[in-house]
Structure formats: structure tokens, C-alpha cells
């Protein structure tokens, strides 16, 4: 990666330079203040950069080289499913028929797009085991919000007002944050000794004021909750809904379906299980699949297939006429470009391929875990719950910290010098000094071996001299950054 000095695009700017050349004025010229009152006009242009095309290209090319990326190296970021992003997806998403289609094009002139969305709905429904899908939510957290608003609408429709939503203590931060945004109170449920929901605690908390239980399964420990049937029964018994955070769906595609487990509402992260590139933090999409009883409340508009007229092709349409709908969650029809990529991915793999992906993801995780256990990680970074994991597993760096003086953060930073992206760190909160490792199915055994070796090397090095890891990394574009200072005196834009 590039180690040169930071120069921002503004620092490359020189007065009078430019890249954009706009079409010439081809209509009568008029003074702007004849069109718009001058008190509503801008007096000083915004200080955007002034720079030619070649220099923009060089700038962002150089800047890009200061990133670690999945197409260059292993990126076992737990909970994020950093699987390969097939290049054909980018190609098909770029077709003008997709990329330059206006969202308000009349449905009869956007049949291909609507059919694609409908096909994706069908596919996600089949994978989730739930019959109705809305593609609207923009990401997982947005799907969660949709889920709780659906829950609210469902209860309201039955004349109930409930105030609490249960989330396990292992839940991802978006779960409780969503609970608050949706106007509920978040109530934590404990984890039992095998890493699943503590049934007793759940039983104690699952009362008639509970609107919903949000669950990830396999959960953020990478463990499948074996009691899921009992949990579902318990929750449904109180009249609450059961929400499935689909961030970990990559473990069970074609193997077990959330709908069959008893979930009412599922969100799917297309940017995880369905290969949408992560883009440095999006775009993604968080479609939701729901059961019959939730369906009436789905967001508006919904993509529907109308019966063929005169024996012709069926027509796809946007149904706005959904009187019990919770309404819109965003503009237009959702992140269509993401749908194209994920639909292409599903077409590429097919049903068997998706199943094989999940199998291999789980095999890779268990293999890596086995490799690690056998080395120094076995004593210094033990797995938090010693069971067969699913697509990921969580190690605890507590012994390493105690015995070697190197924290999970130190190990993560030292991994950077070995050319690996570190796992997710310090999550889930339940596990001390957590390291959450998700290799995904698209990695080779050679890569897993190399990663295990790197962890072992780092621990061996720390046995000799813990200071090395404590001050790592050394070879990255910058070394550890002063985050505390950055928060104390925030510099959030360039002064110009």
C-alpha cells in the first residue's frame, strides 16, 4: 500500500483549472437574476476543487492504494461475510437498461426491472421460507426498522399496544438501536452456557408487553441456537413476533430456513450473503421476507405480478394500493442496482450452489478454528464457546492479554503487518477481548492455513517480546492513529 504523504483533493486544487466541460449554452442567454430573485441566489461559489481530469484520476488512484481490499487479500471480518464479489455482477448492473432507467418510468416501460425485482422476491422468499418479500429497505438496519414498524402495525391492527422488544446480549448494535428508533424499549436477554438464548431468562421476560424478539441464528457467536423451536413457541405464546436478523444467513442457505424455524420477519443483507460489494461501507440492501400475517403491512409500493391479460405475458407492476401498509421507508423502489447484482449471483449459483456456499462457509470456519486451536491460539486465544461453529467463530483474547500483555487490538494491528485484514474485534460484547472470525466460502485452505500461521507467529513473537504487537502496525500507510485526540478536537472538514 502507498505510504506517501496525505494530500487532499483541495490541496491539489489551483485556481482556474478544471475537468468538467459542459454543453454550450444553446438557448437565449438571460441574466440569472432575471429568473430568480437575487436574494435567493448564491453570492460566492462553493469552494470545490479546481483540477484537471488527469490529476483527479491520479489523486484517487493514489488514495485508493491506501486501502486494503478483498480483491487483494483475506478479509475475515466477522459478521460481514466478506465473500468474493463476482465481476459479472458489475457488468450486468452497468447495462444502460438498468443503470439509466429512471425510477419513475411507467411500469409498462420498465417490465424488465420489475420482473427482475419480482424474481428476486421469489428467490429470497424460497431461501427464507417465507412467502412475501419487500425489497425496499436499504440495508440490514433499515430492514430491522421495517420489521419493528411491521410488528407495531401488526399489534395495532389487533388493537394491542406493546412496549418492549427483546434482544439477546449478543445482538448486533443495530438491533437495540432500532428498537429505540421504532419507539420501543430494549430489553436484554441473557446467553446461556452453550452460547444460545438463556431460556429461563427469556421465559422471565417474555410477557404480554413484549412486541418482538429479535434474533440472529446462527447468532453473533457463530452458533446455531438449538432451542430455536422452544424459543419460537415461547415468544409466539405471548403474542409477540419473532424477528430474524439475517446477517448470518450465509451459514444456512438451502440448509435451514428461518421461516421453518418460526420467524415472522426476516431481513436479508444482500451485501453479505448475496455478494454485493461492500463499497467501503455500502451500498447494500436489506430486503425483508415475512409470513402471511405480516404481509398486509408491508411497505408501499410492492412489486406484484398481475395475471396475464389475453393469454399474453404476465405484467409486473408497482402496487401502491395497500391500505394497511406501514408506508414508505425511502424514496422510489429500493436499491435496484444491488438487486441486479444479487439476482445475478443467485442465478450464477442456483439452489445447489447456494447450499454449497453455506456448507463450504461452515467447513472453512470449522477448519480454521481447528487449525487455530492446535496452535498457540489454543491457549492464548481460546474459542469462546467450544462447539461446532457455523460460518464464523469468536475467540477470546483475554488469556493473551493476561499472559502475554497483548490485547485483541494489538493482535489485530499486528495482523495488518502480515498482510491480513483483522477479524471483527470487541464484538460480541459478551466475550472478553473478542475476535470474531468469518472466513467465508470463497477462501482456499491455503489462505486459511496462512492466516492460522500468522496468528501463531504473532503469539510466538509476543511470547518473546510483547512490545512488537503493542506498537503494531509498522508497514501500513499510517500507524495507529490518535482516535481520542480526533474526538476531542474534531476536524471534520478541510478549512478552505
Amino acid at each position: 500500500m502507498q505510504r506517501d504523504r496525505v494530500v487532499t483533493i483541495f490541496e491539489r486544487s489551483r485556481p482556474g483549472r478544471r475537468a468538467a466541460q459542459l454543453p454550450a449554452l444553446d438557448v437565449p442567454d438571460v441574466a440569472l437574476d432575471e429568473l430568480i430573485p437575487s436574494n435567493l441566489l448564491r453570492s460566492r461559489p462553493p469552494v470545490l476543487p479546481e483540477i484537471s481530469e488527469p490529476e483527479i484520476v491520479r489523486h484517487y488512484n493514489r488514495v485508493s492504494r491506501r486501502n486494503f481490499d478483498l480483491d487483494t487479500g483475506f478479509y475475515p471480518l466477522g459478521s460481514c461475510t466478506m465473500k468474493h464479489n463476482p465481476k459479472v455482477n458489475e457488468r450486468v448492473a452497468a447495462f444502460a437498461g438498468h443503470a439509466r432507467l429512471h425510477p419513475l418510468q411507467a411500469p409498462q416501460r420498465a417490465q424488465g426491472a420489475l420482473e427482475l425485482m419480482w424474481l428476486l422476491q421469489q428467490a429470497l422468499g424460497a431461501i427464507c421460507g417465507l412467502p412475501h418479500v419487500s425489497l425496499q429497505p436499504s440495508a440490514g438496519a433499515h430492514g430491522e426498522l421495517a420489521g419493528l414498524l411491521l410488528t407495531r402495525a401488526y399489534h395495532a391492527d389487533r388493537g394491542e399496544r406493546r412496549h418492549k422488544v427483546l434482544t439477546p446480549d449478543t445482538a448486533h448494535g443495530t438491533n437495540p438501536a432500532t428498537v429505540t428508533m421504532a419507539g420501543y424499549e430494549a430489553v436484554k436477554v441473557a446467553t446461556d452456557g452453550r452460547g444460545g438464548i438463556d431460556i429461563e431468562d427469556l421465559r422471565a421476560k417474555a410477557d404480554s408487553d413484549v412486541a418482538c424478539l429479535m434474533l440472529t441464528n446462527p447468532n453473533t457467536l457463530g452458533l446455531f441456537d438449538e432451542n430455536i423451536e422452544q424459543i419460537a413457541e415461547l415468544v409466539h405464546g405471548t403474542g409477540a413476533t419473532l424477528y430474524y436478523d439475517g446477517a448470518n444467513l450465509n451459514a444456512v442457505m438451502g440448509i435451514s430456513r428461518p421461516g421453518d424455524m418460526g420467524f415472522d420477519i426476516v431481513h436479508v443483507n444482500l451485501h453479505k450473503s448475496f455478494s454485493q460489494p461492500h463499497g467501503g461501507g455500502g451500498p447494500g440492501a436489506g430486503p425483508i421476507a415475512v409470513s402471511d400475517r405480516i404481509e398486509p403491512f408491508l411497505p408501499r409500493p410492492q412489486v406484484v405480478r398481475r395475471a396475464p391479460v389475453n393469454g399474453g405475458e404476465p405484467a409486473y407492476d408497482l402496487d401502491h394500493d395497500r391500505p394497511r401498509s406501514i408506508g414508505r421507508l425511502r424514496g422510489f423502489q429500493g436499491n435496484f442496482g444491488v438487486f441486479v447484482r444479487s439476482y445475478a449471483y443467485i442465478l450464477s449459483l442456483g439452489g445447489d450452489g447456494l447450499k454449497e456456499a453455506s456448507e463450504t462457509a461452515v467447513l472453512n470456519a470449522n477448519y480454521l478454528l481447528a487449525r487455530l486451536k492446535r496452535g498457540r491460539a489454543g491457549s492464548f486465544l481460546p474459542v469462546a464457546f467450544d462447539r461446532t461453529c457455523k460460518h464464523e467463530f469468536v475467540l477470546s483474547g483475554a488469556p493473551a492479554k493476561k499472559k502475554l500483555g497483548v490485547s485483541t487490538l494489538d493482535i489485530a494491528k499486528r495482523l495488518l503487518d502480515h498482510g491480513f485484514h483483522p477479524p471483527t474485534v470487541y464484538f460480541p460484547l459478551l466475550v472478553h477481548e473478542a475476535l470474531m472470525v468469518e472466513p467465508t466460502e470463497t477462501e482456499t485452505t491455503e489462505t486459511l492455513d496462512a492466516f492460522a500461521d500468522a496468528i501463531d507467529d504473532i503469539l510466538a513473537e509476543a511470547e518473546q517480546d510483547s512490545a512488537i504487537a503493542q506498537s503494531a502496525p509498522y508497514t501500513t500507510p499510517v500507524r495507529r492513529l490518535d482516535e481520542v485526540g480526533a474526538t476531542r478536537r474534531p476536524v471534520l472538514r478541510q478549512p478552505l
Partner: protein
């Protein structure tokens, strides 16, 4: 084995042995048997890449996109040209494939782009702080209302009927959750009714939401509206079209507390509505309540300049149920496209594009209203979009124009029952005078024909 996986039968065997399992099934033994799917998924078999390509190409062909017709549709997303450098840079795997920059030492690329983006948004809006993106426009409006509610402790949101219908609907959806009443201020002609606004704002009003230019294309008189909106201590939230901010006075100069908007027009494809990004800028005092990622400058252990995600104590992964928003994955790559686009457009270009659109829009407005059966829906000043009234059913007129390869605009009746005869026409730098003249011809023709009996009209 799929083409994206590497585990051969040999690999599997060797790995299972290392794990100590006899079979893959054994790894799933913890899933209760009756929850295991006993049959294949109801999906087709996987396809070779070229067949995936061909099927998607066939679907794409069944859409009439802006490459195939002259597109005057706007209403929130616009057919601007996306310069090739935007694609070539955002398709670099270094930007395309990493995730959120949790490890700043190896994410300086993404972080620096965020910092540059924030600077540009701050410059455009005239507000000191901006985040690194939200999902898109309308949900950003809802996010602003949530912020206002949390900040003020009040529970009414006042929104102009001239705000994008999708924004109003999204706001309404969210507000049911976070518990706010949403009050709509009516239109007076093409703009927000100032008197009605004054009447609507009270001491329980958390925010007033306006849009500039508004959904009907009108430039709102923010100089008049802003003090009214802020009179009782509510936050003034303006949803703005970033591409007009080279010519329009920025919201910050009117005293807006928050400025936000849809970012599609900044170097993002139409993509049938997404992905794009939302931007969100505010006065300093709201920074610790802002939703979304924020990058800040920091020094490294050797004193070298760098960037980090900062003020993370706002965020869900730290604060959980106390977070200021639940947002996690956002729209980083789209904001990156926006950053490159704004660098490309530059200080001169942002003004020029605004002026070009304003002048072409003025021309189009005049040209189209010369047609028999077309009149102005309002006469407020406009920049890039304007509203007409047609003497014939709008949908039939649109179909006629479509047959001539023109998407003539958006039928306002979809969202405004009272404007069933309304047509919203958008102009970008891609729509030349010749295109506008062709639109005028098609519209004139359509109005004549749709006056004829249905059967005759259909035979065209």
C-alpha cells in the same frame, strides 16, 4: 463446486479430517432435524457466467432507459451525465470491495474520501459539519426529524406539502415509530404557504421541513420562510438539490439547522431509484447527534496525518439502544462517486451547470407554454424543473410522447389529487434545446390527438 469456491473433494476430505468430522452434515448436527430442509431450494440450477449475462441483458432490454428515449423525468432523480472517471475510479477494487473503515491504518483511502466528501457537502450547503452519507434522500428527511425530536424533546414535525411526497411518506412511516405527529403545510400556488406555516408552527414543534427547490420545481423564498419556521425554536430542516447549489443561496445562509438531500444527481446512475446516497449537514451544535459515519483528521504514532472514523459514541455499535441512529452499512461507494463527481465538476462547473439548467429551463417553460392546451401550473422562479397543466389526460399524453421516444415528465396526479392535470418536467445538461423542441412538438401533437376519440388515437 461453484466457480467462486475452491474446496475440491480432496480439500473437503482433508478439512473434515482436521475438524474431526466425518461429513459436512455433521457440522450441521446442531440444527434440529425437522428444521433442516429436506429438499433442494426452489431455485433454478446455477448458470454459466455467459448465460447469467444473457438473461440479465434480456431483462434490461425490456426497460426503456434514458439511453433509448429523451428523458424529462425528474421528481427527485435526474438523468445527468456520469463522467467516465467516476466509474473507472469507483470500480477499482480498492474502493469497491472493502467494508466500513474499522481499521483505519489500512483504510486511509476510504477515510480520506469521506473527509473530502464532508468538506464538499459542507461547502455546498454552507453548514459547518456533514456526515459521510445516509441511505438516500427521503429517509434522511426522517432522520433529521428524529434528530430534531431528540434534540428539542418536542413532538410535532411540520412539513411543507411542497416537500417530495416520498419524503413526506417516509417521514410519516418513521414518525409512527419514534412518536411524532406530522403536520402538513399547504401550498399557495407553487410554493409553501407562508401564513399557513406561521399558523402551523407552535412551541411543541421540533422541526420545520422545507425543500429547495421544492417538488414542483419552485425556488422557495427561504428568506421569508426561515424566520417563520424558526420562530418557536423549531429546527429548520431543508432538503436541497445539491446540483442547484452553485446558483442558489445555500441553506446555511438562511439559518437552516440541517440541510440534507438526495445525492443521485451527483455522479450516480439512475439505477431505477438506487443505490444512491443521502447527505446530511448541520450546524456544529448537532454534530454529536448526527446519524451516520463521520471521518475526522488524526495523527498517527509517528505524527503522520491520517483520518479515522470519529465521534463514534453516537453510533449503534458503541451506544446500542442509546445511539442517535441505527444506521450501519450506508452508501459509501455512492458518496465516493459523488466526491469524484464534485471534484470533476469543480468550482466553476457547479455554477455553470446551475446556470445552464436555469436558462434551458426558462427556455423550455416558455416554449412549452406556447402550446395550445399547456399552461403554467405555477409561476414561481425555477432552476431545473417546472410544472405545467395539460388540457388532456396526463397519462395518455405521456403514452403518446413515449411512442415518440420521449419521457415527457412526471404526472403530478400520482401524488397530488388536486393536481391531476399537472405535469412535472425536468431539465438537465443532457437535454439540449433540440430535445426540448422535440418535446414541444410531441406534446403539441399528443394534445391534439388525445382530444380525438380513443380508438383513432390508438392507431398512431
Amino acid at each position: 463446486m461453484t466457480r467462486f469456491t475452491s474446496a475440491t473433494d480432496d480439500d473437503r476430505e482433508q478439512m473434515l479430517a482436521a475438524v474431526g468430522a466425518r461429513s459436512i452434515e455433521e457440522l450441521f448436527a446442531d440444527i434440529p432435524p425437522n428444521l433442516r430442509l429436506k429438499r433442494p431450494l426452489e431455485l433454478r440450477d446455477g448458470l454459466p457466467e455467459e448465460q447469467v449475462h444473457d438473461e440479465l441483458a434480456e431483462l434490461a432490454r425490456r426497460n426503456v432507459d434514458a439511453e433509448r428515449e429523451s428523458c424529462f423525468l425528474g421528481a427527485g432523480m435526474y438523468d445527468h451525465y456520469v463522467p467516465a472517471i467516476v466509474d473507472s475510479i469507483t470500480q477499482r477494487s480498492e474502493f469497491l470491495t472493502p467494508y466500513t473503515p474499522y481499521q483505519p491504518e489500512v483504510s486511509q483511502g476510504t477515510l480520506q474520501v469521506m473527509f473530502e466528501f464532508q468538506t464538499m457537502i459542507s461547502e455546498l450547503t454552507g453548514l459547518p459539519v456533514a456526515n459521510a452519507s445516509l441511505y438516500e434522500g427521503p429517509s434522511s428527511v426522517a432522520a433529521a426529524a428524529y434528530l430534531a425530536k431528540q434534540h428539542t424533546g418536542r413532538s410535532r414535525i411540520v412539513v411543507s406539502r411542497a416537500v417530495h411526497p416520498h419524503s413526506r411518506e417516509t417521514l410519516a412511516t418513521y414518525a409512527v415509530g419514534f412518536g411524532c405527529e406530522v403536520v402538513e403545510v399547504p401550498l399557495a400556488g407553487g410554493a409553501t404557504d407562508a401564513d399557513a406555516l406561521a399558523a402551523a408552527v407552535d412551541s411543541d414543534t421540533a422541526a420545520v421541513i422545507l425543500q429547495q427547490p421544492n417538488f414542483l420545481g419552485a425556488v422557495e423564498d427561504l428568506e421569508r420562510l426561515a424566520p417563520i419556521a424558526k420562530a418557536t425554536g423549531a429546527l429548520l430542516v431543508t432538503s436541497v438539490d445539491a446540483l442547484t447549489l452553485g446558483v442558489l443561496r445555500p441553506p446555511g445562509e438562511f439559518g437552516a439547522d440541517i440541510a440534507l438531500g438526495e445525492g443521485q444527481m451527483l455522479g450516480n446512475r439512475l439505477d431505477f431509484g438506487g443505490p444512491s446516497f443521502g447527505f446530511f449537514a448541520a450546524r456544529e451544535e448537532y454534530v454529536r447527534r448526527m446519524p451516520g459515519r463521520i471521518a475526522g483528521e488524526a495523527l498517527d504514532a509517528d505524527g503522520r496525518r491520517g483520518f479515522v472514523l470519529t465521534l463514534q459514541t453516537r453510533e449503534q455499535h458503541i451506544r446500542r439502544e442509546k445511539a442517535t441512529s441505527n444506521i450501519c452499512t450506508s452508501q459509501a461507494l455512492n458518496a465516493t462517486a459523488g466526491t469524484i463527481y464534485l471534484a470533476w465538476l469543480g468550482r466553476q462547473g457547479i455554477v455553470e451547470i446551475g446556470e445552464l439548467m436555469a436558462k434551458r429551463t426558462a427556455y423550455a417553460r416558455k416554449r412549452l407554454t406556447q402550446i395550445e392546451g399547456v399552461e403554467l401550473l405555477h409561476s414561481e422562479p425555477v432552476v431545473r424543473e417546472f410544472a405545467l397543466r395539460l388540457s388532456a389526460p396526463v397519462d395518455r399524453v405521456l403514452d403518446h410522447c413515449a411512442m415518440r421516444g420521449i419521457a415527457a415528465g412526471y404526472a403530478l396526479g400520482h401524488d397530488y389529487g388536486e393536481l391531476a392535470d399537472g405535469l412535472l418536467v425536468a431539465i438537465t445538461e443532457r437535454r439540449s434545446r433540440a430535445d426540448i423542441d422535440r418535446l414541444a412538438d410531441a406534446l403539441a401533437d399528443a394534445l391534439v390527438r388525445t382530444a380525438e376519440p380513443e380508438s383513432a388515437a390508438v392507431s398512431t
